[in-house]
Symmetry: none
Subunit: 241 residues, 2 copies
Amino acid sequence: MSTADNILVVDDDSEIRTLLQEYLTRHGYRVTAVADGPAMQQAMEDARFDLVVMDLMLPGEDGISLCRKLRAHSNLPVIMLTARGEQGDRIAGLETGADDYLPKPFNPRELLARIKSVLRRARSLPQNLELEDVRLFRFGGWRLATATRQLQTAEGVAVPLSGAEYRLLSIFLRYPGTVLSRDRLTELLRGREHKLPFDRSLDVQVSRLRQRLRDDGRGSGVIRAVRGQGYVFALPVEVER
Amino acid sequence: MSTADNILVVDDDSEIRTLLQEYLTRHGYRVTAVADGPAMQQAMEDARFDLVVMDLMLPGEDGISLCRKLRAHSNLPVIMLTARGEQGDRIAGLETGADDYLPKPFNPRELLARIKSVLRRARSLPQNLELEDVRLFRFGGWRLATATRQLQTAEGVAVPLSGAEYRLLSIFLRYPGTVLSRDRLTELLRGREHKLPFDRSLDVQVSRLRQRLRDDGRGSGVIRAVRGQGYVFALPVEVER
DNA sequence: GGCCTTTGTATCAAAGTGTAACAAGCCGCA
DNA sequence: TGCGGCTTGTTACACTTTGATACAAAGGCC
């Protein structure tokens, strides 16, 4: 490990910002603390972070919305701070799309433990690789050659893929084991945002890709739907450069 | 467990000190009760404590400040007693650094529950998400493969599990022989706390899981209800990594 | 046995997911 | 230019999952 991990804290309460700034710095992290969404955007333009700790309740745009936006174009891990057991907001836990959450008030030690756990998990996943670097992907007997864009079964039979199918598969192959939201997948696939609130076209693409992979969508196949979250590629992937 | 947990109560109201001293002692804790900051410092030099219960409002130096000082050099769990009337989020800032808080006036039983919960959390830090290390669980002839999320009977027949069923089962498999309260199960299952006072949806999930496991809920089956406590997974579990 | 609390589960409604079918666009080619 | 084949976005509908509710069954206590 070269340098300390860089953590971005987003909370409108200055007490908490100060507490976390001190505590996390004392434990060997680099910390930037800001109060709201816009300041967060700014901070993220200025520096690269390894993890975000965010309050669910923020003035202006709330944490869920910020988290969703973040997730639409990055893998940055997020830990959400939530109000404890209040009846008002029903959405309290992992439904926020965060990697982990912690109800307020909390002992900073506990936050530290979760930060470590989330970072460890993030690092255990394959690092972002550029598609250009990879010549061949292997997964569960299948092979995908990038040069020819050809998919082969375990028996060596070539399976034709359309352009979108190939792109979608290669996206999944770059993030095996990571839950990708529909927003994220759509952006990676088409380079633009979802338009309609109930756009199902991504699901249809997934369904088509599944047919190519002989994955019936039920049972625990290759591409698994995670209810309310998105899709995961469920097989281990080997890459050949 | 060697000796009883040692709890330090800091409150200027002598009635509360007496009440807590009695109540917590009766429930098996060692209790020291003091009235203010200086007495607290003194007590902490004389003995080692496992948890502090502190009034937010104290004569002289208040609870926030004491808690902050404490945090500067220790992780000792703190439960803060606060005046009622503030909304959860507004108040959350005040207990910055505390592990939990309880609005006054409070039911001693509620405090007891929080003490137990805070102590449990403080002691079992690395328990949150470490399921991924296990490849296979075996219990009473059944097998659960984590990679494919597939459950198999002793005869090798695959039994489909929904997402929630799989998660609930894997929670039980992580704590075989341990009674898990409904609150705890709900939190582990859904990543948030119980909201409704008489929420039976967890029981329904257990019931559905039992159906998958061909456990009729009567007799001494796989998942046993413990009246007034919660549920236990009643079979021995073998883990394969 | 009454009476109350706790647990088990059928049933319902809402939300989420899978995919067939359609339609619009694109491409190459005669 | 017009035609057929392919690709891809959209819509529609069936099906699954899940949380909630209601009520029956079981357990305790007097």
